[in-house]
């Protein structure tokens, strides 16, 4: 729906238009300012930060904080920068996203096109699993990971994120395949395609959008996760978010705000990039993950 503000007379209409745009711009500033400050701070020297104005552009541009953050900053006891944690996150995210997406796609396929009595209950069980506060699973999960010998390891985090991501990926694919015409599946059955043949040849080629949505959604969520990372992989195997928090909140030494900001931007970069490149799918995933149905 679109409707313009009605007003009496041209000048009044113009006034409203100006007020409207001003308000919108003020809010844009509100949302952009922290990012702007992060960026400018990350290119300033510590001395300039102490003396100068946070909002000012750097007088002396320097990429030293970025190099520091990436290769030299101290996270916990080691001072080798955040790069290893960045790779930890990658090693955690990629397998978790792949496994969860594949399982979700197959689940969605079964729950819509190969229904059995009780399929609704199965879906309800998985759906509710999406919304539990994860605090509820921390204690037993730490036990299980310990028993499996993958506590403090990215492999453990892959398992954790897969276990709690399946609900959402199943939800996404189920709702997508729900709208996929069942007659196509019937036609393929009559044509002689089997369970996997139908999935592979008929459904999957039409699943591009939902795969993108699911991958983005899972990627963003797993990359941004802190609770599981902090609980199960605090040391060397910690993901990026945990390392960032350790870096920023370490109580020893001088607070190097410029390095902190550079590290924060590095931590945010992958998801920001995804958002900028595929914002449409990102929003769709957010909607699908919150507006149920």
């Amino acid at each position: 729906m679109t409707d313009t503000l009605q007003a009496n007379g041209v000048s009044s209409a113009r006034f409203w238009r100006v007020a409207l745009y001003t308000t919108l711009i003020v809010f844009a500033v509100f949302y952009l300012l922290p990012l702007y400050v992060m960026l400018t701070t990350s290119f300033k020297s510590l001395a300039e930060i102490r003396q100068g104005n946070m909002l000012a552009l750097p007088a002396d541009w320097t990429i030293e904080p970025w190099l520091q953050a990436w290769g030299k900053a101290c996270v916990g006891l080691t001072c080798e920068g955040i790069n290893s944690y960045f790779w930890n996150s990658i090693k955690m995210v990629v397998p978790a996203v792949v496994i969860t997406t594949v399982l979700g796609a197959l689940n969605g396929y079964v729950l819509t096109k190969w229904r059995f009595t009780g399929h609704k209950w199965v879906f309800a069980l998985m759906l509710f699993g999406c919304f539990i506060p994860f605090q509820i699973v921390l204690i037993p999960m730490s036990q299980v990971l310990g028993k499996l010998g993958i506590a403090g390891d990215t492999a453990g985090l892959v398992l954790v994120h897969t276990a709690y991501g399946i609900g959402f990926s199943t939800l996404f694919f189920r709702n997508y395949y729900e709208a996929f015409p069942s007659e196509l599946v019937k036609a393929a059955m009559i044509d002689g395609a089997g369970f996997f043949g139908i999935f592979w040849r008929i459904l999957l080629p039409s699943s591009g959008p939902i795969i993108v949505v699911t991958v983005i959604w899972l990627f963003t969520n797993i990359w941004n996760d802190f609770l599981f990372g902090a609980s199960f992989a605090a040391g060397e195997g910690a993901p990026m978010t945990v390392a960032l928090n350790n870096l920023v909140n370490s109580s020893t030494g001088v607070k190097e705000y410029n390095v902190h900001m550079a590290a924060a931007i590095i931590a945010a970069l992958p998801t920001l990039l995804v958002y900028i490149v595929a914002g449409r799918y990102f929003v769709r995933g957010l909607m699908a993950g919150s507006v149920k149905g």
Partner: protein
């Protein structure tokens, strides 16, 4: 093919869909429901640093929990944070959505701008705002530099006000998403109704108030559920922004659970607090999911 092989083949073909589904179902049952039961059981034991399954003490931990001052503070904070977070995000989201709905030329850019914080980790958001609101070097100093000498903004280290900084950062992160939800709702309204309202002589304001907003009740509900859910679970933001402090000024149930379980060696109490969190969320989510899925089935 022998008869036996064919029988196996038929059986496999018949059960294949369920076989494919079963690993996920097994994982869900184990990792979600099994773990919930386990935590529920732990909450009724005298577990300290490690789970202690033999020492069953019934609901004692719950009694202890409610008498713990930190838990009281956490609940108070959750109430303050939760209600402000939900109300401000909701109103701001609706407000921005309505503004963006006025045939704005740069809508795409503005929408992207309002929504991008949602792509960030709460840890990044917390780090950014912590710096931005830094009492010594952040906003306060910038305002002084701009000539506003008396400007004072020390909420981050002021126990009375610190919780509101969490609200600000939370709103900053999530309100764009609420806007997107409302915008989608607005775009879903039949434009012929608006033409009819125009012909009926309604002003823009009246059209929104009397015709459009009442039709967005489903979006209001969804937004409420999403925000309440995020609010109750919020852990990362508090950790990154205030670390629960100063003192325990920004303690929340999520941080309470974590610290009692893993650092204060009160696992039983921590588990009890997790159960309370689960029940609170379930009380909001379950009726919502039930209504949503039922609605769908009635189509």
């Amino acid at each position: 093919m022998s008869n036996k092989n064919r029988a196996i083949g038929d059986w496999l073909r018949h059960h294949l869909p369920r076989l494919v589904l079963s690993p996920s179902v097994a994982m869900t049952i184990f990792f979600v429901y099994g773990f919930i039961l386990y935590t529920a059981y732990i909450s009724m034991t005298k577990s300290k640093m490690l789970p202690n399954l033999s020492n069953f003490i019934g609901l004692d931990n719950y009694g202890k929990l409610w008498k713990t001052l930190n838990w009281q503070v956490a609940l108070d904070n959750l109430f303050i944070f939760g209600s402000l977070y939900i109300i401000i995000c909701g109103l701001l989201g609706l407000f921005l959505a309505i503004l963006l709905d006025q045939k704005i030329r740069t809508e795409g850019f503005l929408r992207t701008t309002y929504l991008y914080p949602m792509a960030l980790s709460f840890i990044v958001t917390g780090t950014a705002w912590k710096w931005f609101l830094n009492p010594g070097l952040g906003l306060e100093k910038s305002m002084h530099a701009l000539g506003w000498e008396s400007f004072k903004f020390d909420w981050l280290i002021n126990p009375e006000m610190a919780i509101y900084t969490v609200v600000i950062a939370g709103v900053w992160q999530t309100s764009g998403f609420v806007m997107a939800m409302f915008l989608a709702g607005l775009r879903g309204i039949d434009s012929e109704q608006l033409k009819a309202a125009q012909l009926d002589g309604a002003s823009t304001l009246q059209t929104y108030w009397r015709i459009i907003i009442p039709q967005l009740h489903a979006v209001f509900l969804s937004a409420f559920v999403v925000l309440a859910h995020m609010g109750i679970k919020s852990y990362d933001l508090v950790v990154a922004l205030t670390g629960g402090g100063p003192g325990r000024a920004t303690e929340m149930p999520a941080t309470f659970m974590y610290s009692y379980t893993f650092t204060r060696n009160q696992m039983g109490v921590g588990a009890a607090s997790a159960i309370i969190m689960l029940m609170t969320i379930a009380a909001i989510i379950v009726p919502y999911l039930y209504a949503e899925t039922r609605e769908k089935n009635n189509d």
